[in-house]
Symmetry: C2
Subunit: 276 residues, 2 copies
Amino acid sequence: MIEKIDLISNRLKELIPKDNNYQKKLFEAANYSLLSPAKRLRPLLVLTTLEAFKKDIKIGIDPALSIELIHTYSLIHDDLPCMDDDDFRRGKPSLHKAYPEWLAILTGDYLLTYAFEIITKANKITDKQKVDLIQSLTKYSGGFGLIAGQVTDLSFEGKKIDFEKLKFMHLNKTAALFIAAVEFGCILANAEQDIKLKFIEFAKSFGLAFQIFDDISDTEDKKSSDIKKDKATAVTILGLKEAKKLASDLQEKGLEILKKLPLDTNDLEKLILKIS
Amino acid sequence: MIEKIDLISNRLKELIPKDNNYQKKLFEAANYSLLSPAKRLRPLLVLTTLEAFKKDIKIGIDPALSIELIHTYSLIHDDLPCMDDDDFRRGKPSLHKAYPEWLAILTGDYLLTYAFEIITKANKITDKQKVDLIQSLTKYSGGFGLIAGQVTDLSFEGKKIDFEKLKFMHLNKTAALFIAAVEFGCILANAEQDIKLKFIEFAKSFGLAFQIFDDISDTEDKKSSDIKKDKATAVTILGLKEAKKLASDLQEKGLEILKKLPLDTNDLEKLILKIS
């Protein structure tokens, strides 16, 4: 696992261009958000999936980072005053607090655009794989994925919602990029369709479990902006005890799917166990 | 020309999904901006370039619209209160005036993401062409293109700038998508590299001329938000007479490049003549 995290951290540091002109601040702002300490769960999931097929993980590094770029852009935009209005992110002032708000929005746009660029330039993969990766990323980060999740989240704010609605939101806002991550691994490994479908089921459970564990830890720490703003979470809808049971059940379901795969899923098991 | 405009308008109307769930407002907002009356100069430039090679323009329609999606997202984000703070766009309230600001930002993000999605799904073109189109679009709309232009524009606001800086801004903020448009035509027509380079020179002149004619018309109408905000334009830097001469010279240069091409450039000539 350490080897994969190092690969991700090292490549991330060299991703944003250094030579530039009047847009110097843009690249500086991009690195401010991108290089903040983070778990890198989504790119790790790409590489760990690829590794389960015993493939060279190096072919997956730039595609994996494209998902981290999308994740980072979405955090920058989510933090904006007219959205979640969060002043802090990853232990530092959020981007629109450290830089002008207009530059934060444009940095998000830049990271979103750059995510697709680095896939087109990735080494040692075919054009068909590049097209499949980009299509997968647009699917899970677009109007039926990440953005649908964020629209739902903000539409629901201040409203009483049921668990079905919450699940729709979390599946899109959180699980969607986990699904993209395993699909990336499968595309890069040329996996069969039935294996890919099992990975998608695994990632759904993983993503939902991750979000619920996160909400539980926020409730116990009393520090999240979601709690400040009275946002619905699994904890507020189901209660703490039920939420904990659900998160563990989802984690267990993810593990069961892995165990039935004809692959070396050792590190994937470690990854889903780390989130509780 | 009418045939191409109709093709663009008709396909635009069916581009945004209708079946949806909680993200219904997102798709409604996307159509609000996308279907407002507009000249569609960038997609027209893709199809007209393709036609100069005597290719079936239908293979270019979705790629052409992807550039219109990028153009539309950039207008939505540019109009935001923390950027140009424009209350009107294409004769209607701007998107953040008609819908909540958070939805306007997310609609921009959605159109940006969707631009790449429709290229991956385009019919009758190869995977190599799709990858080349996406790489071209990220290049001209990213941190060395459209976004560089917008960063420069906002960084320069309220400052005295010279013509070189203004040119850098216009080349990125305006000409970049014109260049993408002709490059799209060339990729779709499998054009030779030397022809593509001539098209890029043509599009630079076209884009710059278009921006300067636009600034001239804004000065004469006294209605643009750029004038309200005392933004530098070719007119404020060079004076009205010199600006008019420069725009005409650029238009003339574009026409000369076209005339030397071994292609049927009749409609391309009409297109660059329409902007004065």
